[in-house]
């Protein structure tokens, strides 16, 4: 049986991680490579790196970071941030990234999804969607939730699947940062609508929230940042807890 995946997300700025200060045996908490290796050892199933300052000038720093991560890491990882064209994705693929995540560039130019899927395969293309509840509808937002678009979340995700997205990373801006649990209703609705894997994001505060999101919405993976970085939830404990609740996980 396919396991449900647990995915720590690392925010990177200029090739350094900006969160992740609470690990004990780290020589350098800002080093993405060391942090990534630590997570892999703890049993993370996959990692996501979001480059929050990605620009063309800084692309080189990012490529070097991706190469170092790929040299050390024996689990898959995704890179997101600032990917606007095929050349960006190609450079990341050749540096060892398993998948790339695109967000605003795809909203501005949906054909990018199709082009990336054709060039590198659907398994390489993760569409990240930031969603917020507005007047009874779920609306796609950009810039970390600051900018509303005219796209309705469910429609956009369906369109992206048709265009060739291989996976959806769905972040609820209403739940993100609240530590009050994932948006199980929306995740469940989207999960039933599409036939590609979906990663739940936004709202993880306790181990129960992970159990809940897998039980209620049957998503394929759950992503979180701060609860892992600050050691509030340890991945081995989380996996044991999920296993006790009969959720298939890799121990």
């Amino acid at each position: 049986m396919l396991s449900k995946r647990i995915i720590p997300c690392l925010d990177v700025k200029d090739g350094r991680t900006v969160k992740g200060v609470n690990f004990v045996d780290l020589r350098d908490a800002g080093d993405p490579v060391e942090l990534a290796a630590q997570y892999a050892q703890q049993g993370a199933d996959e990692l996501v790196f979001l480059d929050i300052t990605a620009t063309h000038e800084r692309r080189k720093t990012m490529i070097e970071m991706v190469k170092s991560v790929a040299r050390q890491l024996n689990i898959p990882f995704t890179i997101g941030g600032g990917i606007t064209e095929l050349a960006d994705a190609d450079a990341l693929l050749n540096a060892g990234a398993d998948k790339i995540s695109i967000n605003s560039a795809a909203v501005r130019n949906p054909k990018l999804i199709e082009d990336l899927a054709k060039a590198f395969g659907v398994q390489f293309v993760v569409l990240a969607v930031d969603t917020k509840h507005v007047d009874g509808r779920n609306m796609v937002h950009l810039n970390g939730g600051r900018l509303i678009t005219e796209l309705e979340t469910e429609n956009w995700i369906k369109q992206a699947e048709d265009l060739g997205a291989g996976e959806i990373l769905l972040t609820s801006m209403d739940h993100d940062g609240t530590k009050a649990g994932f948006d199980c209703n929306l995740l469940s609705k989207v999960n039933q609508m599409i036939n590609i894997p979906i990663i739940a994001s936004g709202g993880a505060g306790s181990m129960d929230h992970f159990t809940e999101v897998f039980q209620k919405s049957n998503v394929d993976a759950a992503l979180a940042a701060s609860v892992f970085h600050y050691g509030e939830i340890l991945i081995p404990d989380l996996k044991q807890e999920l296993k006790r609740n009969h959720i298939p996980v890799r121990i």
């Binding site: 050390q72 024996n74 689990i75 050749n94 398994q123 036939n195 894997p197 394929d220």
Partner: protein, 216 residues
């Protein structure tokens, strides 16, 4: 090797025993992660572009991601097909590289190398599964030497939309996703794994180590 006397094996014969993995370089997908994994395991490797280079190595890996039909066309373009089929040293196909050693793929309705007489088929949505099969899945293995020191039902990382049909004659490990399929096959010196050993944690690294220890 600047100075001859520093080489630990003065006898040339012993030098030939050294394990060197040749990676068939036919342009189907990125191999950075594979070479990184071999480096972590201290396994030496090189690229195979020509028939002469195929001879140089003790073990051969056929990597591959993407479209099986396209990959087969690229492999044909290298002119290595016949030489690969004649190999008697250990060969390991990974992911699409594994599919290439089968007879036929539904992906692009492509005739493949036909080394292991089984077929590569498309996962069927009607089995109520998501496609691609992406993530960690348990692998039930048959104690083949490729799986030495790997626990049964250890999990490996898979990413694929096409699978190799289960056939007990050639199956050395199986997995379940809507149906039972071959996660690994063997015929004589030819091995194939559908999962990505280079991305499958410690269990995956053990597979690469075991492959390098195969002698036929």
């Amino acid at each position: 090797m600047k100075t001859k006397h520093s080489f630990p094996y003065p006898d040339k014969k012993e030098r030939i025993e050294i394990i060197m993995i040749g990676i068939v370089n036919y342009g189907a997908g990125n191999i950075f992660s594979l070479t990184a994994a071999l480096e972590r395991l201290n396994l030496s490797y090189g690229m195979v572009n020509t028939e002469a280079e195929l001879e140089k190595y003790s073990h051969i890996i056929i990597p591959g991601v993407g479209h099986a039909g396209t990959a087969m066309e690229k492999l044909k373009a290298t002119g290595l097909v016949n030489a690969i089929k004649k190999l008697s040293k250990p060969v390991l196909g990974i992911c699409v590289g594994m599919q290439l050693i089968t007879t036929h793929s539904e992906e692009g309705d492509a005739a493949l190398l036909d080394i292991v007489p089984v077929n590569t088929k498309k996962f069927d949505k009607s089995l109520n599964i998501k496609i691609p099969h992406m993530g960690w899945n348990a692998v039930n293995h048959q104690n083949n030497s490729l799986f030495t020191a790997v626990e049964n039902n250890a999990q490996f990382y898979f990413v694929h939309s096409y699978f190799i049909e289960y056939n007990p004659t050639f199956d050395i490990a199986s997995a379940d996703y809507g149906l039972k399929f071959s996660a690994a096959v063997q015929k004589d010196n030819f091995y194939g794994v559908q999962f990505h050993p280079e991305k499958s944690g410690k269990a995956g690294e053990q597979i690469l180590k075991n492959f390098s220890n195969l002698s036929l």
